[in-house]
Amino acid sequence: MSAVADDQWRGVAAEDTEDIDRHVGLKLKRRSRALLGSLLRPHLRWAVLGLVLVVLENAARLAGPLLIAVVIDTGIPDLLRGDPTVMAWCVVAYAGCTVASAGLWAGFLMLSGRIGQDLVLDLRQRIFQHAQRLPLSFHESYTSGKVISRQTSDIDSLGDLLEVGIDDLLTSVLSIVGITVLLLTLDFDLAALTVVTALPLFFVTRWFLRRSNQAYRGVSGRTATVIVHYVETMNGMRAVQAFRREDRNRSIMDGLNSRVRSAARESLDVVATFTMSVRLVGNLSLAVVLAFGAFRVADGTLELGVLTAFTLYLRRFYEPLDDIAMFANSYSSAIAALEKISGLLQEKPDVPEPSRPRALPPHRGGLPIEFVGTEFRYRPDTPVVLPELDLAIPAGQTVALVGPTGAGKSTIAKLVARFYDPTAGKVLLSGVDVRDVSDVELRGSVVMVTQENFLFSGSVADNILLGKPSATRAEVEAAAHAVGAHDFISALPEGYDTDVRKRGGRLSAGQRQVIAFARAFLADPAVLVLDEATSSLDLPTERVVQRALESVLADRTALIIAHRLSTVLIADRVLVITDGRITEDGHPQTLTTTPGHFADLHTAWRDSLA
């Protein structure tokens, strides 16, 4: 894996590299911390209350041993003399502290749990909404498996940090601070010696944080490759089984799996080495303090009681370090996750909402569309797909785009629907630049149906309702009627309420397509864009859809891309597109009789029907 150069860390660019340069690493960390901070800010007051609860709980807990000492030193001697007062009070106080400690801790857990859950919910929604806002070009280059890991395993590691980590960290820090203060007041020299012997821990911890961060990046990156392969297999199971890819798939999986395993092992090894080092340093420093202290007691320069207290507290001083290491561990895994999440959140939607949206004029009978010097390329380093297009489509016209694959037909359609923005020039709807129209209004006015007829899990009705969520059942059924889907939907076991199963798996491609049509008809847009939308229909259905189209297209502007000439022939105007340019333009009847690309296509099609 090569190191990522300084300018390439923005967004999701640094994600797949396990070994990144220090400088970039710092920027990634800063970005993650900024995200964490912005998530925590709204809960600051509750977090402070939580802190107070922990402090009180610690106080109540630490009071216990003190009370026992009082009972032994004063209570029992008093009792032997016949006075039970001190003993009784101490026992009552001990029980009281216990009750307080239990109550405070339970309260703290609930409070911190609530904060953690609110935080996770907030982050989930942020990523989800952001992923929805990102342009198609992003989704085409960033695989679905990765977006899923961002929202599942990465969120989980953050959840772990909040759930397991915070309370441990707080108690540990509190006891370390408390003990340090105690030691310093007891004997400065001995305390200084303790600090010096603890110094190696600083380096060990630094080593650990660096290595464990690296190890976690490795684990989560490699886990994502397993997820991608797994999802691909599940979604392509028909082909896997029909073509006996099972064994090959298994060997790919074994390879990916063992890469995950070695990364996971390495990260466990790092933890093992770290906890061992902390314990070793702690125990050896205990021995040193003991030796040094013992000779001073012998000299008479140190009280025996002070040395006893030191050795007792020293043990407690190092113990929480383990917890802190564990916290650092979940912290570094959460930070690795946050690095990726914050990268995703940093990706800018290239199709931004206008800051001051302009309203479209009322549109009975469709909206006029105009392309003015419109140029488009996918990326600065790829060739121009659409060179300077000038085209005016009056309101209500039905335009068919014809031409070979890759000529730029879909690009024209996508620019109207604002899936992409032009690299130069503009696209106007009724004189308004589409970039100045609010998303809500644009999506209400322009609807695109593609051959990719994705259905969501839920009922048939839910899927049609996507076109217009406020529609009534009668409207849904009317839309289904219009496109000839009513009969087959009614024949399903639960009619419109039938669950379509995973990605519409219960239905055929043709049925899914008709439902996608019904969805568009229900949306009733001013501009309808059909990109190969009739390609998977069977002929009877296509006939019904065509008839419906003729009446539906009458009072709206439409752009149709179709390979079937039967669809093209219902258009008012045909544009033949070759290499991003309009080479023929006219009424279909006129073009059929004029020699040219369209006339050839028409002849070929008539021949194929015979």
């Binding site: 679905s144 007691v297 899936f419 043709g510």
Partner: protein
């Protein structure tokens, strides 16, 4: 718990290491307990008496014990790192292998998000359990039992008090265990459902953007995420209550020990030393007692995760190799016959196919025509046994497909689907999928047949170009042509094409059809068709209606004789002009 016990075969090979790791935990506990005791001896003895002579040795003992403790810490993790990750990897490989054998009907029922969470998050829960919670559960229970014995030996009163406080704790823990299990299960299911929404939001992004319905789905997502939060909060409340009890009971026990101990000292039945020792041991038992709640919670989560894992592993592989497989005749010609074939989806009461009889003569191409949802795709899936008939039989060269080895059957029958599936692999691997031994020349021949050679050669690395999810993206037509090339590579005897031409444009379709005609002449083929142009590739056409073959004959015959067929295969433009023939 039964679900956890079933992990035994995975754990057994590394049993020694797990035991050693538990021993290391015990060893570190012994060192941890011994160090303060020796320390106490040193402080009370030589130091108090100001004898510096034996000090260096005693300090050395402390240092050695300290080093030993650190080593035990290292060993306990190091020993389980290998086996626990290996168990996870093996279990993941096994569920993956099982899923690949499960029938398509299973995969249609299960969301891939749900399957994914079983193979990733559930298994990592199990790994954590195996490496940490499992070992500590054993060690801490042992320590607790040992501690109680010591207490009873010291003073029965102190033992009774500790036991009286520990018993309700165990009772509460058990109660809590079952309630927590229900919530954990619910939360894991909700996590799976949430993953499904996430998956759909990404895969359906074009539709969502086209209709501006991102916010709509976002609301649904938010509602589900909030539900999950609700479940998590209920888990936290339950956990907090348990923690309250875990802190309260043992500490109340110590107050009682303090009270009865003091009274005991007062009436002379106990010494102060015994009381101090009793309290020390009881305090030492706090972590083992405390941790039981947490460990049980982890065990619960692990048990739930294991149950979810086994739920998939236990799904029955209904389509398997026969016990006594038959062989295809060596001189097989690829005759395919459907006899009284019936099919209903599992659990459905309506039959999709109700008595299909169809004979495909060797080398013949039969087109299958029928209304949307008439069961054409289902019929095609029966040939390579992606689904099994519910009654009747499908045979190839006279042998029931269920009597053949799956590998044999599927190497004779090749398929192309309505929606092309490509894998993250090179073009070569995607095409040679079903016939791993083929040469580059054969791959190229198949690409030529599918009219795909030209565009493949234009790809940056030709046949080696990586495509699919993580590779270069191709157009629908290009994907479909590759899927076709895959079906014809290695020249299978039987070809089943489920309308693979639907995504192609007129020109490409015509080219692919011309090439297909050449290929189809040598094989028996069943082609689902929606277009007159596709139907014309076939020697005969079968019309599927109401789950039966309603008519069979040549395209021309059926156009003349069958009104239902005309209804299926005439286009809008034919109506005014009449059917061109």
């Amino acid at each position: 718990m039964a679900a956890l016990r079933r992990l035994a075969p995975y754990l057994r090979p590394a049993r020694g290491k797990f035991i050693l790791s538990a021993v290391a935990v015990l060893g570190s506990m012994v060192c941890g307990l011994t160090i303060p005791l020796i320390l106490q001896q040193i402080l009370d003895g030589p130091v108090a008496r100001k004898e510096t002579g034996p000090l260096p040795w005693l300090v050395l003992v402390i240092a050695v014990l300290g080093a030993a403790e650190a080593l035990m810490f290292y060993l306990r993790r190091k020993l389980v790192a290998g086996p626990s990750t290996l168990v996870e990897a093996r279990m993941r490989a096994d569920i993956y292998a099982h899923l690949q054998r499960l029938p398509i009907s299973f995969h249609d029922r299960w969301q891939s998000g749900q399957l994914l969470s079983r193979a990733v998050s559930d298994l990592s829960t199990l790994r954590r359990f195996i490496a940490f919670a499992g070992i500590f559960l054993v060690v801490n229970t042992l320590t607790l039992a040992l501690g109680l014995v010591v207490l009873f030996l010291l003073a029965p009163v102190l033992g009774v008090i500790t036991l009286v406080c520990a018993a309700p704790l165990i009772l509460i823990s058990t109660q809590y265990e079952s309630r927590y299990a229900v919530l954990t299960r619910r939360s894991q299911d909700q996590v799976g459902d949430l993953a499904t929404v996430v998956e759909e939001s990404v895969l359906g992004i074009r539709v969502l953007k086209a209709f501006g319905r991102g916010p709509h789905l976002a609301r649904r997502f938010a509602a589900q995420a909030r539900e999950l939060r609700g479940t998590e909060l209920r888990k936290i409340r339950l956990l907090a209550t348990l923690w309250g009890a875990i802190i309260l009971l043992p500490e109340l026990g110590i107050s009682a020990q303090l009270l009865f101990g003091s009274l005991g000292v007062a009436d002379g039945s106990m010494t102060v030393g015994t009381l101090v020792a009793g309290i020390t041991v009881a305090t030492y038992l706090r972590w083992p007692t405390d941790s039981i709640g947490w460990l049980l919670a982890e065990t619960n989560q692990a048990a739930t995760a294991a149950a979810r894992y086994w739920e998939v592993r236990d799904a029955e592989v209904t389509i398997t190799d026969p016990e006594r497989p038959a062989d295809l005749p060596a001189d097989g010609v690829g005759a395919v016959r459907f006899e009284g074939v019936r099919f209903a989806h599992p659990g459905a009461d309506r039959e999709v196919l109700s008595g299909v009889d169809l004979d495909l003569r060797p080398g013949e191409t039969v087109a299958l025509v029928g209304a949307t949802g008439s069961g054409k795709s289902t019929l095609t899936m029966l040939v390579p046994r992606l689904a099994d008939v519910t009654a009747g039989r499908v045979s190839v060269d006279g042998v029931d497909v269920r009597d053949l080895r799956l590998a044999d059957l599927r190497s004779v029958v090749a398929m192309a689907f309505e929606e092309p599936v490509l894998f993250s692999a090179s073009v070569r691997e995607n095409v040679a999928l079903g016939a791993p031994g083929v040469t580059d020349e054969q791959v190229r021949e198949a690409l030529r047949v599918a009219q795909a050679e030209e565009f493949v050669d234009r790809l940056p690395w030709g046949l080696d170009t990586r495509i699919g999810e993580e590779g270069l993206s191709l157009s629908g037509g290009q994907r479909q042509r590759l899927a076709l090339a895959r079906a014809v590579v290695g020249r299978p005897k039987v070809l089943v094409l489920d309308d693979p031409l639907s995504a192609l444009d007129v020109h490409t379709e015509a080219e692919v059809e011309r090439a297909l005609r050449a290929v189809l002449s040598g094989v028996t083929a069943l082609v689902v068709a929606h277009r007159p142009s596709t139907v014309r590739l076939a020697d005969r056409v079968a019309l599927l209606d109401q789950g039966r073959i309603a008519a069979i004959g040549t395209h021309e015959e059926l156009l003349k004789s069958c009104a239902a067929y005309r209804e299926q295969l005439s286009t809008v433009d034919d109506e005014p002009a009449g059917v061109a023939s």
